[in-house]
Amino acid sequence: MSTVLEILHIARFGLAGVFLLGGGFFVLAGAIGVLRLPDFYTRLHAAGVTDTMGSTLILLGLMLIAGFTLLSVKLALVGLFLFLTSPTATHAVANAAHKAKLKPLLGTYRQTRKGDNEGGSQ
């Protein structure tokens, strides 16, 4: 019995580690994307990855570590809040850019490089 618990214990922390690392990877990828991608909309896309995948995985990992405690409930609430707000924020920003008549970059990067559009809706 105790060995089963121990295995579960190890598995829990192992899984938490995987989630945290995965979350970290998405955050990093998002950050690189914001810096490297060519135009406003694609950068926004990269930033969205940080918000959704990155934070969700990190929160899941933390919840696994915290176990069945009040802390987990709070983390779940944080997750819920982010789940609702970050796509909305991304939507609002993209909407504003669209309203401001910011054209997305079409075609390949090399073709339109000259007209590189520094992101910014205003």
């Binding site: 707000t85 939507h91 609002a92 909407n95 504003a96 309203k99």
Partner: protein, 348 residues
């Protein structure tokens, strides 16, 4: 100064170093930039990173407030004020730059001079940490039955400072009222209607925002009350709660228009609230006087148990703080929006 103590180099210190590095970069960026919009956003970032650093330095209450006030409300106000002004600052003249540089150098040198006699970072026996602060930690529970020592010091031991602080906020609200007014007039002309609700296009573009904010606003207010009443046990209290609840109304105003927000929370109510909070706070102090003790003495509020009296008093003044802070934040917001054209679809 305690010469025996040596600050350890551990994981905590490394986080510390990274955050400080970020602060330095953001600070230098603000110096270099001339784009006002970027400067304002970076100022918000600076506050947010500071808040993170405060968490790592165990100052959870301060971090909370800095994030809500410094990174939140301040940035909103800054954006509101710069909305119509030019977006770029004129670069400073070299003479001025050098003059400022030397003033700053002299000031910095005076502080650097003092560094050698400062206590080591983290020293538990340094003068600031081993004296009154420790005394508070030991007395807070028996004296006031409040585990969050920051709350008990803020509201009781140094409660008079907090009365002053609440009055500072009120004064600022009064100042904005006097300088900007709270009416709906811009230069004597009646303001145009905020948002055209019949406009199908506007409706379509705001659907997501409206739905989500409708879900969020009650939760934000609820969270504000949680922060208010949980302030005795965890980080939080009247200031943070006031700012959070005010931010719910501000969010409502941003999405549904300032007029709708003013219909829901009328300016008169807000003005009364601003004054009422300070009066509740000051009145709690007067109650101590009437019950035959000193000003702001909560012990006498409950004749049977002094700690319970403390709890009562602290709850009462925290409610006063909540009302004033929340109201003044809205006074300021209404004041600014009455001077600006409403945020229109074009700005989204």
């Amino acid at each position: 100064m305690n010469a025996d103590f040596i600050t350890p180099l551990d994981a905590f210190t490394i986080i510390d170093l990274i955050l400080m590095l970020m602060l330095l970069i953001v600070g230098l960026a603000i110096v270099r930039l001339n784009d006002i919009f970027a400067i304002v956003m970076l100022a918000g970032v600076y506050s947010l990173v500071s808040a993170l650093w405060f968490v790592s330095l165990d100052a959870v209450d301060v971090a909370f407030t800095e994030a809500a006030v410094g990174a939140g409300i301040s940035t909103v106000l800054m954006l509101g004020a710069m909305l119509l002004s030019s977006r770029t600052a004129l670069p400073a003249k070299p003479v001025r730059k050098w003059a400022s540089f030397f003033i700053v150098l002299a000031t910095g040198a005076a502080l650097m001079y003092a560094v050698t006699d400062m206590p080591s970072f983290g020293d538990p026996l340094s003068a600031p940490n081993a004296y009154v602060g420790l005394e508070y930690l030991k007395r807070s529970l028996p004296d006031t039955e409040i585990p969050n020592v920051v709350s008990s010091v803020l509201a009781s031991y140094r409660g008079y400072d907090t009365l002053g602080e609440t009055s500072v906020i009120l004064t600022a609200g009064l100042g904005v009222m006097l300088i900007l007014g709270m009416g709906g007039k811009i230069n004597g002309q009646l303001k145009k209607k905020a948002i055209d609700y019949d406009n199908a296009d506007a409706q379509a573009h705001h659907t997501v925002l409206r739905v989500v904010s409708k879900m969020m606003i009650p939760l934000i207010v609820l969270y504000g009350f949680y922060v208010q009443f949980h302030g005795d046990f965890g980080p939080g209290g009247g200031f943070q709660a006031g700012v959070i609840i005010a931010s719910a109304v501000i969010l409502y105003a941003l999405i549904f228009g300032v007029d709708a927000a003013k219909a829901a929370v009328p300016p008169l109510v807000v003005r009364i609230g601003a004054a009422l909070g300070v009066l509740i706070y000051g009145g709690t102090g007067i109650a101590g006087l009437i019950l035959g003790s000193n000003y702001l003495d909560y012990n006498v509020l409950d004749p049977h148990s002094a700690p319970h009296g403390q709890e009562l008093g602290i709850m009462s003044i925290e409610i006063g703080v909540l009302i004033t802070v929340c109201s003044v934040m809205l006074v300021i917001f209404y004041g600014f929006t009455s001077r600006q054209p409403d945020i229109t679809d074009k700005d989204w």
